[in-house]
């Protein structure tokens, strides 16, 4: 009985999220907006907006350097935001959380400040064929500069990372493993904690691309043992322009800075400078104070719902969507079964190009995405030029999937299939 009530309470909490997000009240092309492009960007609930608004309307000031009331309040709010995000990600201390622009910059920071200094000719970087370009192109560049080699791990027939292949390729030549925690195409969840164990055993460092997982799964970077973990605010209810790099303190302390200038120095003389402590060392210039406050409010919002429940909500929608989509003739879903993924489904529909699907879905009010989703190598690997993708979040419900299925049937009809 108590269980039952809890279930009701949860359902109600998730139902309220819709009301919190003004965008979701919109109509497009005369139809209620069915927003299924969450892997690209999530919608912002009012409490997040209000937290940013409070900064801009009440204590808008620069941080760290000011001896006046507003600046003190801004500094407190900014450092408080760091603490909240650290707690959300399970980081052992706030200082291990660096604010960046987005996950891409977080990974580039690791590339420029760690990899460039630590990789040598003959070293290997291990990554998977399903990496997002942002967790792939930086390593191509660093490999190129250092004369290091990229080694790719493929997928099992079930669309999961091939752990046997990974174990085999993870030799002592590997200095860095760059791996996604959750694929933005296949939805596949990767056992990063296990990979960290294997990698540390051969002395390799692990950089985890958490751009999707931070939004969809309970994350604890300390428990996972990751050396680096990257994510973005706007993928988890927050604003654009703010992301995070978590790093293990020993590594961060040993690393050279990335962006040089104000706020990241201890002393500057004409010919040389010394650096501030971590995390300031990596936050050159005035930070995105408003963005950090927004991202922290988003983390709080998610923490209140509970990331276990966020994941359960994904599971519920996947379980509902899978059989219904599979019933559509000619539809192929890529990636693992529902239980092994977060709320993302990429698919193709026979004889209809994904871009045509997306245009027709849009006309029916359904926002989806088509293309290679910044994972061109994965699409080559799957042998398809592009795919259609829908992705769920906490405000989506079963009727959104019904709308998706109807729209896909319209697409088939338009194309005479």
């Amino acid at each position: 009985m108590i269980r039952q009530n809890n279930q009701h309470a949860i359902e109600r909490d998730f139902r309220l999220v819709v009301d919190d997000c003004p965008v979701l009240q919109r109509f497009v092309h005369g139809k209620r907006l069915v927003y299924l492009d969450n892997a690209a960007m999530t919608q912002m609930p009012r409490p997040v907006m209000e937290a940013m608004q409070a900064f801009y309307t009440r204590f808008n000031a620069n941080v760290h350097r000011g001896i006046h009331r507003l600046s003190e309040e801004a500094t407190d709010a900014y450092e408080d935001a760091r603490g909240k995000v650290a707690r959300f990600l399970g980081a052992p201390q706030p200082e291990s959380v660096i604010f960046t622009r987005n996950a891409t910059e977080s990974l580039n920071l690791v590339a420029y400040s760690w990899a460039r200094e630590n990789l040598q000719g003959g070293d290997e970087i291990l990554l998977s064929v399903m990496e997002h370009h942002s967790n792939l192109v930086p390593w191509q560049q660093m490999a190129d500069e250092a004369g290091a080699k990229l080694v790719y791990v493929g997928l099992t027939s079930h669309g999961m990372l091939d752990m046997d292949e990974l174990a085999q390729k993870l030799t002592s030549r590997v200095k860095l493993v760059a791996i996604t925690h959750m694929s933005n195409v296949l939805g596949a969840i990767v056992p990063v904690a296990e990979i960290v164990n294997l990698a540390h055993a051969v002395g390799a460092i692990v950089a985890v691309d958490g751009a999707q997982s931070a939004a969809h799964l309970p994350v604890n970077v300390a428990a996972m043992g990751a050396d680096f973990f990257a994510c973005s605010g706007y993928k988890m209810l927050g604003p654009t322009g703010i992301g995070v790099l978590y790093g293990r303190m020993e590594l961060l302390e040993a690393m050279r800075p990335f962006n040089y200038g104000g706020s990241m120095i201890a002393h500057v003389e004409l010919e040389k400078s010394t650096w501030a402590e971590v995390p300031q060392k990596f936050e050159g210039g005035t930070p995105n104070i408003g963005g950090a406050i927004g991202m922290a409010a988003a983390a709080d919002y998610l923490a209140r719902l509970g990331m276990q429940r966020v994941q359960a909500h994904d599971q519920k929608l996947l379980a509902y969507a899978f059989p219904r989509l599979q019933e559509i003739p000619g539809l192929t879903i890529y990636g693992p079964p529902p239980e092994q993924r977060g709320g993302i489904i990429a698919f193709t529909l026979k004889d209809i190009h994904p871009h045509d699907i997306a245009t027709i879905l849009d006309k029916e009010g359904v926002a989806s995405r088509a293309g290679h989703h910044c994972a061109e190598p994965l699409h080559h690997y799957l042998g398809i030029p592009a795919s259609a993708r829908v992705s769920f979040y906490i405000y989506n419900r079963e009727h959104d999937i019904d709308a998706l299925v109807s729209a896909l049937l319209v697409a088939r009809k338009v194309f005479g299939a």
Binding site: H353, H355, D356, T359, K363, G371, A386
Partner: protein, 150 residues
Amino acid sequence: MPELSDIYSEVILEHNRHPRNRGRVESPTHESHCDNPTCGDTIDLSLRVKDGRIEDVKFLGEGCAISQASASIMTQMIKGMSVEDAETLEAEFRRMLLEENYQPDAAMLGDLIALQGVKKLHARVKCAVCAWHALDAALSGAATVSTEEK
């Protein structure tokens, strides 16, 4: 906003299902490749031009209905045309898709009018012009071109 049937009209769908002039012309005088990286559309165009006239033109490629139909209709229309007329047609086609409030010359454009509905789909205009980028590139002697370029 155009209706679905304005975008995916019978003409478009039919050309997509049964594209004309697929392949590579014999002894081409001009060839080019156009690439739409955002969408993954590709068009390989080959032409045989003699005495300022397009004797033959064919295309190969992959992509959405809009890109393939556009290529198919284009080849059908410019085959046998003078290079000059093909360029005039291209200019008119581009104006139809890119110029605000432009009233296109329906007589000149023929079946290409079917692509007018794409105008409002900002993200899809590139698909429609890919083949025309390739034509432009081929005639001006460039080998490859991308829809990302001006």
